[in-house]
């Protein structure tokens, strides 16, 4: 063992993943006779699982209606939908490589993502808010000085807070929950003083808490994010079909009915209301259908 050869192999295998699988989704749906919808396990009332491989939610139902229109357009007798659960880490690669044809979760439409994928017209505008205990006396972001602020690992909400922190000299400690339920538990157990997240997720978690009255959504809107249905890039025919179907729902009021069904009425599995009124920013997005990224909202 005198010769000691230490072979350091750092094989950075630069495999050129050719990302675009099939740019013509309509042709793919027609030839395969089925379509794959990307869904989330737990994205509030937008997209969530009922267990048993069943998925439901505001965006899931929009997509089911859109795909029914696509089926009509293609003249298919039936179009079975495969549901593929995705996470915030894999949703973009799975759309790019063709595993998922249409992603109906809670994806923020931003400029970085628009380089990789394309988005349907915005169906939901999310407001990032602060949840705190009702008796904590916290009513504004500036009161978070020296406090512990929970957020969920792998979400962008905390970025806004960080920028705000630097701008105003408010100093707080970030605490990361591994998922939304975990972050809420941090708030509930007192390990964090506030939970900063999308308003619908906060509302959903509060509605499902043991004592919903102990918690309150407080303070100013930290940022506004357009949430949209995601598709492959450079597929104008499919995007047109999806957009037209959604715009039709916006105009004839069926989207407003869906909102009422998912956000203002009791929903399965526990028959609890989320209790989130249609916000002005979402109304504005429906009045003027568009697929502008988040950055455009910030400029206003």
């Amino acid at each position: 063992m005198k010769k000691r050869i230490v072979a350091l192999m750092l094989g950075a295998a630069a495999v050129g993943l050719s990302a675009t699988a099939q740019a013509d989704t309509l042709a793919k749906i027609k030839s395969s006779g089925s379509v794959t919808m990307g869904v989330r396990e737990s994205s509030g009332a937008l997209s969530y699982t009922l267990g048993d491989g069943k998925f439901a939610g505001f965006h899931v139902e929009i997509c089911e209606r859109v795909l029914a229109d696509v089926q009509k357009q293609l003249g298919l007798a039936k179009l079975p939908i495969k549901y593929q659960p995705v996470t915030s880490q894999n949703r973009i690669p799975l759309v790019q490589n063709g595993t998922v044809d249409i992603e109906c979760g809670s994806t923020t439409n931003n400029a970085t993502r628009q380089k990789d994928v394309s988005f349907a017209v915005t169906t939901y505008v999310e407001e990032v808010r602060i949840a705190a205990k009702a008796n904590s006396g916290i009513t504004s972001i500036n009161q978070l000085n020296g406090k512990k602020v929970a957020t969920t690992t792998g979400t962008t909400s905390v970025q806004h807070l960080r920028k705000h922190e630097r701008a105003t000299g408010v100093n707080f400690e970030e605490v990361f929950g591994k998922d939304h339920a975990d972050s809420f538990l941090l708030l509930e157990s007192g390990r964090a003083d506030a939970f900063v997240m999308d308003g619908s997720i906060l509302a959903g978690n509060i509605a499902n808490a043991k004592n919903p009255n102990d918690f309150r959504i407080v303070g100013e809107v930290l940022s506004v994010e357009p949430i949209a249905i995601m598709m492959r890039k450079d597929d104008p025919a499919f995007k047109k079909a999806v957009d037209e179907s959604i715009i039709k729902m916006m105009k004839d009021g069926s989207l407003a009915k869906l909102w009422n069904k998912w956000f203002e009425s009791p929903i399965p599995p526990r028959n609890v209301k989320v209790g989130l009124a249609l916000s002005d920013s979402t109304k504005a997005a429906w009045a003027n259908p568009n697929d502008r990224p988040m950055e455009d909202y910030a400029k206003k």
Binding site: M1, V6, L10, A12, A14, V15, G16, L17, S18, A19, S88, Q89, I92, P93, T112, R113, D116, T153, G154, T155, T156, V158, Q159, H160, R162, K163, E165, R166, E174, V175, F176, G177, K178, D182, L185, L186, S189, G190
Partner: protein, 243 residues
Amino acid sequence: MNWDWQVFLQDTGGGQTYLDWMLSAWGWTLSVAFLALLIAFAFGALVGTIRTLPNDRLSARLMIGFGHAWVEIFRNVPLLVQVFIWYHVIPALVPAFKGLPGFVLVVAALGLFTSARIAEQVRAGIQSLPRGQRQAAMAIGMSTVQTYRLVILPMAFRIIIPPLTSESMNIIKNSSVAFAVSVAELTLFALQAQEETSRGIEVYLAVTSLYMVSAFAVNRLMAMVERRVRVPGLIVAGQSGGH
């Protein structure tokens, strides 16, 4: 696929770059792993030794029973569950734990989990020694403590250096569970940064190589220890056959 390594020079919004953040995360990973390893070695050596005590007295039998319970409890409950028990359950039962940061609790959880595994390796090392060694030590009048301190443990620890190397490398990788209790270590950095920058592949490649570099450094360090403490003629590294 286009690489964009400049993503690490972007500002996180808080006045530091993602590179700064990643290096600090690396520090947290190493701190969790190192402190947990200290705990694991201390408790593992103690419990592993206890489990091999001669069971001739009631007090010894009670201690052996304690050793069995220790190993089975910490070995049979999944690591992530143990971390959550330390973080969410114990502070709810014992208020004194409420003030402790997640870092301390995850070091305890990871250290005790690994201590059960090290205890088993220590026991295996001790039991692999010929019975004659213990008997010879007792025959020349050594007490139990002296027998262990001067004869059995110095031999046993040399024998188990290879599995201890694996365990020390494992603890670096296992330290990733700390992300679940909000310790800003590499895995949490990876999950967070890939979402904020949308450059997941670059972020994960960088983080993976840091894990590899750390584990490999531990490997080389332990190999050096193995060479240094070798007793000529007894256990020769790289050759078959022990004592």
